[in-house]
Amino acid sequence: MNVTTCMKRHVVSITPGTTIHEAAAIFVKKHIGLLPVVDEDNKPIGVIGMRDLLKLELPDFVNFVVDVDFVHDFGAVEDTRPPAKTLNKTIKSLMRPVITVDEDCGLLRAYALMLQQNLHDIPVVSKDGKLIGIASRVDVGVAILSTWAKGE
């Protein structure tokens, strides 16, 4: 069994020129956690995750104070928004390098990669490098567990 058996074939992707503001709207509309960024040939050149956008809103102290249990009210930062200047920047400035798997990648290999690289979703590419699907940890995990039920 390989990753194509469990991946979603309908992938929502964006181009590097998309603004952060537009990307946020796509996350909301599609209710997803990761957007592959592709070039004009539909080849993945990066990814942007929901957490990358949320990081823009997270207060600075979260990076310095390990244990925030004692802070019962985040006060002023609770209702701040990233400035318009940031939201109008393009995704290119924020996107991270993409880690993909080939269409013939085995399920266990895909799962191990996601575990080690701390990925929740992994884009799948064809032999010529084009984006053909995306698989989540749940997609891959369920596919692996289903083989137990079949007694394979």
Partner: protein
């Protein structure tokens, strides 16, 4: 032959200093290599030896620093520093001026008894937290904390490494610092606080959006190990009592610090590997290596020449000489680390003493210059570097230009205050 020894030992020392200040290679690595080279060359040329190098190391300084580092390493994970900052935040009720004075005050007092670096490393993150939740910029608070810890550290024997070095070399006691240094430092602190409040007037008069958020900070929850905090604080308190009487008992401050460290270790029984990891061995090695290098300068005759040069300033009044020393040392400390400067100047002052000059006021001039000078630039002291590096990871980084507008005036004012009081105290000389 002595001329050659003088030239080569100077080249090794000043070459190492330049490498250290260029920050191209880690300073401890440079210092170790330089000290090994100094011994090697000294042995070949016959002016230095392993025995002489070991003798040149001031183990008093190293012991005192190590003892205090162990104590602080044990206090750090208890959450005590966060606890103090949260108490300050609540007491301020989120009002900027009050918060500014309270956080500044806590940092000042802590920096008098503990290492400035540790104080700042632990207070600065909570400062960023407090300012973010009330909705104001953390800049004034962070800059003030670094500057006040530079200033406050000069007050006590244990407050700052240059003081430890000076006390050990000059045989000054903990109480000598309380009598001769602290009063002047308190005036300098008042001046610095007043000045900072004026310089940051605009930021501090802005109304915070959510000042009430600080009231929901729970101090009790910041203490991870209340029992350990209590124990280490009791030991630190006991150590301070012994510091007050150490010279009556004829014990060195380093013995007090190391005894306190061992009592705390026995009482708390922490994971010793974790504690030792927090001890800054690179700093201890750096100090040790500098001692060895300066020992080489002493043995080759370089320091003698420097002493003779200073002696030519014989006609100058001693008070003026002291004030000049404050400003020259301060100017050097603003751009380079004050520890090598202090270690290099100590034998020079001692040499001047051997020529019959009354050097007791000069030790204080050296302490004020080395301590207050660090405020001048963003790289002037470790505390400055730490708040600057931390702020680089926030949305409002501290720039070196900002530091020149806020820190340099503080350096000038504290040095001026020290000079005036110094002149008043020592005018009869």
């Amino acid at each position: 032959m002595p001329i050659l020894a003088i030239i080569i030992s100077s080249v090794i020392f000043f070459g190492s200093l330049i490498l250290i200040f260029s920050e191209k290679i880690n300073r401890s690595i440079v210092a170790i290599a330089g000290s090994v080279l100094m011994i090697g060359v000294g042995k070949i040329m016959g002016f230095y030896s392993e025995e002489a190098a070991i003798e040149a190391i001031d183990f008093n300084t190293l012991g005192l620093l190590m003892g205090m580092m162990i104590l602080v390493a044990m206090l750090e994970p208890t959450g005590f520093f966060e606890y103090l900052a949260v108490l300050a935040a609540r007491a301020s009720q989120g009002k900027p001026i009050r918060l500014f004075l309270l956080l500044g005050g806590i940092t000042t007092v802590l920096s008098m008894f503990l290492d400035n670096v540790t104080t700042i490393v632990l207070i600065a993150p909570v400062t960023i937290l407090i300012s973010e939740i009330i909705g104001v910029s953390a800049l004034p608070y962070l800059v003030a904390e670094a500057l006040l810890s530079n200033t406050g550290g000069v007050a006590t024997l244990v407050g700052d490494p240059p003081n430890v070095l000076i006390a050990s070399a000059a045989g000054l006691s903990f109480n000598d610092f309380l009598v001769y240094s602290m009063p002047i430092v308190l005036v300098a602190l008042a001046g610095a606080t007043f000045l900072l409040q004026a310089l940051f007037k605009k930021e501090l008069s802005k109304r915070p959006r959510r000042s009430k958020a600080v009231m929901k900070l729970n101090p009790a929850e910041t203490l991870n190990h209340p029992e350990n905090a209590r124990r280490v604080l009791i030991v630190l308190g006991g150590a301070t009592l012994f510091f007050f009487v150490h010279h009556f008992l004829h014990i060195e401050p380093s013995f007090v610090a190391l005894s306190a460290a061992s009592v705390a270790l026995i009482w708390v029984q922490p994971d010793i590997h974790e504690i030792l990891k927090k001890v800054e061995w690179s700093i201890l090695l750096f100090f040790g290596s500098l001692f060895v290098m300066v020992g080489g300068l002493e043995h080759s005759g370089v320091l003698e020449i420097v002493v003779t040069l200073f002696q030519n300033a014989d006609g100058m009044s001693p008070v003026l000489f002291g004030i000049l020393m404050i400003w020259i040392v301060a100017a050097l400390s603003a751009v380079v680390d004050n520890v090598p400067i202090t270690i290099a100047l100590i034998p020079v002052i001692k040499g001047l003493g051997e020529t019959g000059m009354d050097i007791s006021p000069l030790w204080w001039a050296l302490a004020f210059g080395a301590g207050f000078g660090g405020s001048g630039t963003i790289i002037g002291s470790s505390a400055n570097i730490i708040v600057a590096t931390l702020s680089e990871k926030t949305r409002t980084p501290i720039t070196s230009a900002l530091w020149l507008k806020r820190g340099l005036p503080v350096m000038l004012v504290t040095c001026a205050i020290a000079s005036i009081l110094y002149a008043l105290v020592y005018r009869w000389l």
